[in-house]
């Protein structure tokens, strides 16, 4: 309990620092948010142009597609907002020896890395995600209930940790290879598969993103439950299970990596 209290306190301190930093560099904040907004806008433009030429996409109409796409941005954006520092591990910190500082401090290294940074750029994704959901919700006729509301929140939280878990595990590879940013990138690319209904893919891809790199549970499955009420036990329950499994694997790899860490130079 004391431990958790201390962690919350540290988290608060770091977030405060990051907000101060943001105020110091207001222009960066604007540029970052616009950049991520633009990235999403071009994708939405793509969807819009395509749907102006076809009536539906394998049975999914444009509103449903937009809803799933928008939903996918929420856990992705939350993970991006809070745990973006993991990218730095694989790209720079380990190869430049900057990781050393975490090891000289009496704090769990992973926790320290996770809470140290707040990536405001992620607001670009979150703003877009929320707008897309808001625009599409009136047109997709969702039947809301208390259960659905709760499960939606549960799904978003655990979907976020699917991203975080995968990032932890792949970032930790850098402890052996010095750089692993692109391994994270490779896995991250797979999450783009999850922005669209998995039914458009062939069985292999569907299998991969459901069971091997299960990004489909960050967006399509929970979103399809919200849209159609279908099978909450699988669509949301599996999101929770997979999230816990991935976080556990990630933390195990991380702890092994810390022991193998070789620092830089000699």
């Amino acid at each position: 309990m004391k431990q958790i209290k201390r962690m919350m306190r540290m988290h608060r301190i770091f977030v405060t620092q990051e907000l101060k930093r943001m105020l110091e560099y207001k222009a960066n904040f604007v540029v970052g948010v616009i950049a991520f907004l633009l990235g999403q806008i071009t994708n939405i433009l793509f969807i819009w142009i395509i749907f102006s030429q076809i009536p539906n996409l394998m049975g999914w109409n444009i509103n449903q597609i937009v809803f799933i796409y928008g939903f996918s941005l929420i856990p992705k954006g939350i993970d991006h907002l809070f745990f973006d520092n993991l990218w730095m591990i694989g790209h720079f910190y380990v190869s430049r020896g900057e990781f050393d500082k975490y090891l000289t401090r009496p704090v769990n290294t992973l926790f320290h890395v996770l809470v140290e940074r707040l990536q405001i750029d992620a607001l670009g994704e979150l703003i877009m995600g929320i707008s897309l959901i808001c625009v599409s919700i009136p047109k997709v006729s969702i039947k809301w209930s208390l259960q659905k509301g709760v499960l939606t929140i549960v799904a978003i939280i655990f979907a976020t940790f699917i991203y975080t878990g995968i990032k932890i595990g792949t970032a930790a590879i850098a402890f052996w290879t010095k750089k692993s940013g692109n391994i994270t990138y490779m896995f991250y690319m797979v999450n783009d598969f999850a922005k669209y209904p998995v039914t458009i893919y062939n069985n292999t891809v569907r299998g991969v993103i459901t069971y091997i790199i299960p990004f489909a549970f960050t967006a399509f499955y929970p979103a399809s439950y919200i849209l159609t009420n279908a099978n909450p036990l699988y669509n949301v329950g599996m999101t929770v299970v997979i999230s816990i499994v991935l976080m556990t694997i990630g933390i195990i790899i991380w702890n092994m990596g810390i022991r193998a860490y070789e620092s830089a130079g000699s």
Binding site: R21, T104, P106, Y261
Partner: protein
């Protein structure tokens, strides 16, 4: 208080073949070999001691320091501080130590300096009243006041170093590691930093482990030197021990009008020693003779020389620590 026993660290290294073919080959089939950066290092450090930890570039100094600070896990061997071991309980261990890497900062780059101390206070769980007291003390010793509200990126190198040292001392560690704390600083700032380190050591009995390439740091601060080379201990003792062990080298300088002095002075033959034991150089009027005074007494050298050539002026020079260490690094003695 600090015990280092048979520390060893091996690294895997990729061997790359030159040229396009080699690059493509190592893209798919990297060859690796194991290299022991630190072979077998042992030493003890007493409470309150200032230890100068030196060695040439690539000797394995930073690897040792990184093992002592809990950054690297040793391949074998142990290091303990007050019975605590970084491999078993890193978090507990690092509370005991403060670390400054001169080439790298642990300060929050974009924020005013004050904020860094606020964050470190949380990380090291320093209570409010203790924190205030500590900041007052560090302020006084390291004179942080002038720049504590400036963003770290705007600090000068000397200010940054003072700030970094303060950061490493915030939690009152028992052991302070200083890796190149005076690198790139001007004479005055170097002097101030050395004074501050000495003061803290005296006042709080903090054990200091200092690595540096500036031997003036060592001469001013260190009670004891540990020198390593190629991953092994080469020397362990005080500065005067170092001098008496390797410092018997003397240098005589003669001013003479004799242009053939070098040819006339046949020391090796006269004293029946090897040619390498006495080195004679002549440049115009100046003749330089370097020899080991434990083999040939200085008085005998002078008597012989004055009998052979006409001398206008003489000076005798003691080898300074800088020269001894340079010779050790070059493996000329030892």
């Amino acid at each position: 208080m600090i015990e280092v026993n048979n520390l060893r660290k091996e690294f895997k290294k990729t061997i790359k073949e030159p040229g396009l073919k080699g690059s493509v080959k190592s893209l798919f089939h990297p060859k690796t070999e194991k290299i022991a950066a630190v072979k077998d290092i042992s030493f003890d450090i007493a409470d309150g001691e200032i230890l100068g930890f030196i060695g040439p570039n690539g000797a394995g100094k930073s690897t040792v320091i990184k093992m002592l600070t809990g950054i690297l896990t040793p391949t074998s061997g142990t290091c303990t501080i007050n019975g605590k071991n970084p491999t078993h309980n890193r978090k507990n261990y690092v509370r005991e130590i403060g670390v400054v890497f001169g080439q790298r900062t642990q300060l929050w780059w974009d924020l005013p300096l004050r904020e860094t101390y606020g964050v470190l206070k949380e990380i090291y769980e320093v209570p409010d009243d203790k924190f205030k007291e500590r900041m007052d003390f560090l302020n006084e010793v390291l004179e942080l006041e002038d720049f504590i509200t400036s963003p770290v990126r705007t600090l000068s190198l000397g200010q940054r170093m003072r700030a970094d040292i303060a950061a490493s001392l915030l939690h009152s560690p028992k052991v302070l590691f200083l890796d190149e704390p005076t690198i790139g600083l001007d004479v005055v700032v170097k002097h101030n930093i050395r004074n501050a380190i000495e003061y803290i050591n005296k006042k709080e009995n903090t054990t200091v482990i200092l690595t540096t390439h500036d031997l003036a740091d060592i001469e001013m601060l260190a009670n004891r030197i540990v020198m390593i080379d190629k991953g092994s201990n080469v020397f362990d003792g005080t500065i005067s021990e170092l001098k008496s062990k390797y410092g018997q080298i003397r240098e005589l300088n003669f001013d003479t009008n004799d242009s053939e002095a070098k040819e006339r002075l046949v020391y090796a033959k006269h004293f029946k020693v090897n040619e390498e034991d006495v080195i004679v150089e002549q440049e115009g009027n100046m003749v330089k003779v370097r020899f080991d005074s434990s083999v040939i007494p200085v008085s005998d050298m002078l008597t012989y020389t004055l009998g052979k050539i006409k001398v206008n002026d003489i000076s005798v020079k003691d080898a300074d620590i800088e020269e001894i260490i340079a010779r050790l690094y070059k493996h000329e003695v030892g």
